[in-house]
Amino acid sequence: MRIELKVNGMLRTIEVEPRTTLLDCLRDVLDLKGAHAGCEHGVCGACTVLFDGVAVRACLMFAAQAAGSEITTVEGITPGPGELSPIQDAFCETHGTQCGYCTPAMVLVAHALLADNPAPTREEIVEAISGNICRCTGYAQIVEAIALAAEHMRGVNRPPSLTK
């Protein structure tokens, strides 16, 4: 079936089977490999994308269902080509990226959290990432990264895309 998907601000007309998940559509049809295929049944959180600004699991939705909504993947949150968002930058700074498999999802969850709550407590950060599994178990640095990003983003140089 032919559907129109708005991904990272661009409207794309694509051909998918109804059974194609949003995750497979992003990775295989639109070549956006940032959303990772982990467990593919809603347990690991590696496929997290933003659906109308809210973090959801791309493996638990069919692409056809997403027509008419705005999808943001990790490729869509950078200020410009070759640049990092403040959240990605904080992940580098605190060594929040271990093997990197869970990272795009963690970054997007952090993105949704900080858009809603610019000054989360440690407990709120832990709760926010509780649905995302890091098999390197590098949670401490991930929590640290999100706290650092929040601190940076509360500063003056907020890019307009992150201002709500």
């Binding site: 059974r19 049944h41 959180g45 959801v56 638990l60 056809a64 969850v109 926010a128 509780s130 649905g131």
Partner: protein, 303 residues
């Protein structure tokens, strides 16, 4: 992990969805899809047609309604769990639901999961189902152009089985609002990891009199049996008492003496029975404390 082929149809309104559902044995409704999609990719479910009701705007709302059975908060079937979680009316009028919802899955699944989907799916461990049974919610469904109602306590008939007719679509759940100024709630569950499926869950809502005795109490146990149980006999015993922990434990132990708890590799029947007694005791204690207003409601973190 790919679903078997199916046809996808986005329903424009509820009657169209019901008509399509009635016309095709292989058709299923999809709302949040947080259970159905994993079932489909594991090929445990193979619907040949999916009728998407997510975009039917009239199915998503939270509003106060007064019926002959009193004041209630009606929640549309496709209202997202995350919306209910943050709703001020729900927090003020149906605090037990507000207290239970953070225990459903994770934020990313609550962002898609719906109230109606959770009820219609009828997982024995579903928090929404437990609250609906405990508070005596009334469920409405649409079938063949007509709307009908069914009490939540009659709705569940087995694990993942409800008495909803084939060709019917759940449209709302109405939760009764308790009047009174000393109302408190408690909710506890035990699971392997936070927000995983509960092995046992317990919900309690109490209303205390001016002297602190219990004027009204509702207690339910989830995940222990095929569908949520309301412990009416324990409620009878505990009404007009001070809700002493020992008395609560004894009443609950007696009330569940005859049940046959589920048993699986995670939790034996005997474990579930023991855990149920403890979790209900804690939920009632929390509800009492909450009603007295002495301590803020604690998040459920049972171990």
């Amino acid at each position: 992990m790919k679903a078997a082929p199916f046809e996808y149809y986005r329903a424009a309104d509820i009657d169209e969805a019901c008509a399509m559902l009635a016309a095709d044995d292989g058709a299923r409704l999809i709302a949040g899809g947080q259970t159905l999609v994993p079932m489909m990719v594991m090929r445990l479910a193979r619907p040949t047609r999916l009728i998407d009701i997510n975009r039917i705007a009239t199915l998503s709302y939270i509003r106060q309604e007064t019926h002959k059975d009193g004041e209630g908060v009606a929640i549309g079937a496709t209202t997202r769990q995350c919306v209910v979680e943050r709703d001020a009316t729900v927090a003020a009028k149906v605090p037990l639901l507000a207290c239970a919802i953070p225990n459903i899955g994770h934020a990313a699944t609550r962002a898609r999961g719906t109230i109606g989907g959770s009820l219609a799916n009828a997982d024995p461990a579903a928090e929404c189902a437990l609250v609906a049974v405990t508070l005596d919610a009334v469920l409405s469904y649409r079938e063949g152009g007509k709307t009908a109602e069914i009490p939540a306590r009659e709705f569940f008939v087995g694990p993942m089985v409800t008495c909803l007719p084939a060709g019917a679509c759940l449209i709302s759940a109405r939760f009764p609002v308790w009047q009174g100024d000393k109302i408190g709630v408690g909710f506890h569950e035990v699971n392997a990891r936070r927000s995983d499926f509960a092995f046992v869950s317990a919900a309690a809502q109490v209303e205390l009199g001016a002297d602190g005795t219990c004027k009204r109490i509702a207690i339910g146990v989830g995940a222990a049996t095929d569908f949520p149980l309301r412990l009416a006999s324990a409620e009878q015993q505990l009404k007009d008492t001070a809700l002493d922990a020992k008395a609560v434990t004894a009443a609950v132990r007696e009330a569940i003496a005859d049940i046959e708890p589920l048993s699986d590799l995670h939790a034996s029947a005997e474990y579930r029975r023991r855990a149920a007694v403890h979790l209900v005791t804690r939920a009632v204690a929390d509800a009492r404390t909450h009603a007295l207003g002495t301590k803020p409601q604690e998040k459920s973190h049972a171990h």
